[in-house]
Symmetry: C2
Subunit: 174 residues, 2 copies
């Protein structure tokens, strides 16, 4: 396998983006793919320190992830991006830039994400300690035509991963 | 060839970094390498818009190039970075992060760079229109132990390129 592609996970905080990305990565490697995971938090640390959570800053951050994903993808790497990426416009920009782009909507009701509250962020957002938190006081724009939708409130991780792999096969990336 | 490495060109503005990078890229591709060029100006545009030319901002910009180079290099890409990168400390940081790192010092006297003035920047710096210009009113710290030194005031582009290729062979990257 030498064909690059970006798997773009989008969804609310706590929806399961990173979990799915972490589960699919070794499977793709076992298929002989070069795989690089771009995690939203890690990329913020390395490329976007100083940026905040306004729409403009979020878009800048996502464009940086998109640019790195483009460079990796055109060098044959399967790039797994996991970032909330709440805005449709900039996801579309990434799709156009990257070309080989598979958008995976990690659909999970806000109530479920909030009940999980993996990082304790929803509690802090509800308490007003964090502002501009996606789903609470900042918008999330669901994809209109993603290549894959997974429903993590109803499916197991394994089921969601299989769904994604099946779609990658269908699209000729596996 | 699947082995990644970063070729890190450092030197004054107008010393010939981009010219050498552009000449060596197709030769490396002809050797079967995947090659990605990270040009200082292009990276600033994509990853560091808003950063200036203070030491802190320059270091941040170079660390971002270094981070992208690391990710590419570990995926088997020959990454050709061409940025002034005037500070020794952050170049050392990149070396440690990346591991497979070949530092190429593009040595050229300031007078020659200034006489070339490819981008018209030296004239503007002398006129005081640009501040913090490396070599004029901002420092350049030459590498102490680079893998390659090329002297572009005396060598032809072809000679410098051959010198770099010979060193890459010696180091086992070609």
């Amino acid at each position: 396998m030498g064909r690059g592609v970006t798997l773009w996970f989008t969804g609310l905080s706590g929806s399961g983006k990173s979990t799915l990305a972490q589960h699919i990565t070794p499977i793709l490697k076992a298929h002989g793919c070069k795989v690089e995971m771009l995690d939203g938090d890690e990329v913020r640390q390395n490329l976007s320190r100083g940026l905040g959570f306004s729409k403009a800053d979020r878009d800048t951050n996502i464009k940086r992830i998109g640019w790195v994903a483009k460079v990796l993808t055109r060098n044959g790497v399967v790039t797994v991006a996991a970032a909330i990426s709440p805005y449709r416009g900039v996801r579309q920009w990434c799709r156009e830039q990257i070309g080989d782009f598979v958008e995976i909507y990690v659909d999970c009701p806000l109530e479920v994400c909030e009940a999980r509250d993996t990082k304790g962020l929803y509690a802090r957002a509800r308490a007003g300690e964090i502002k501009q938190f996606t789903g609470i006081d900042d918008p999330y724009e669901p994809p209109e035509d993603p290549e894959v939708v997974v429903h993590t409130a109803e499916e197991s991780v394994e089921q969601s991963v299989q769904k994604i792999l099946a779609r990658l096969r269908e699209l000729g990336y596996l």
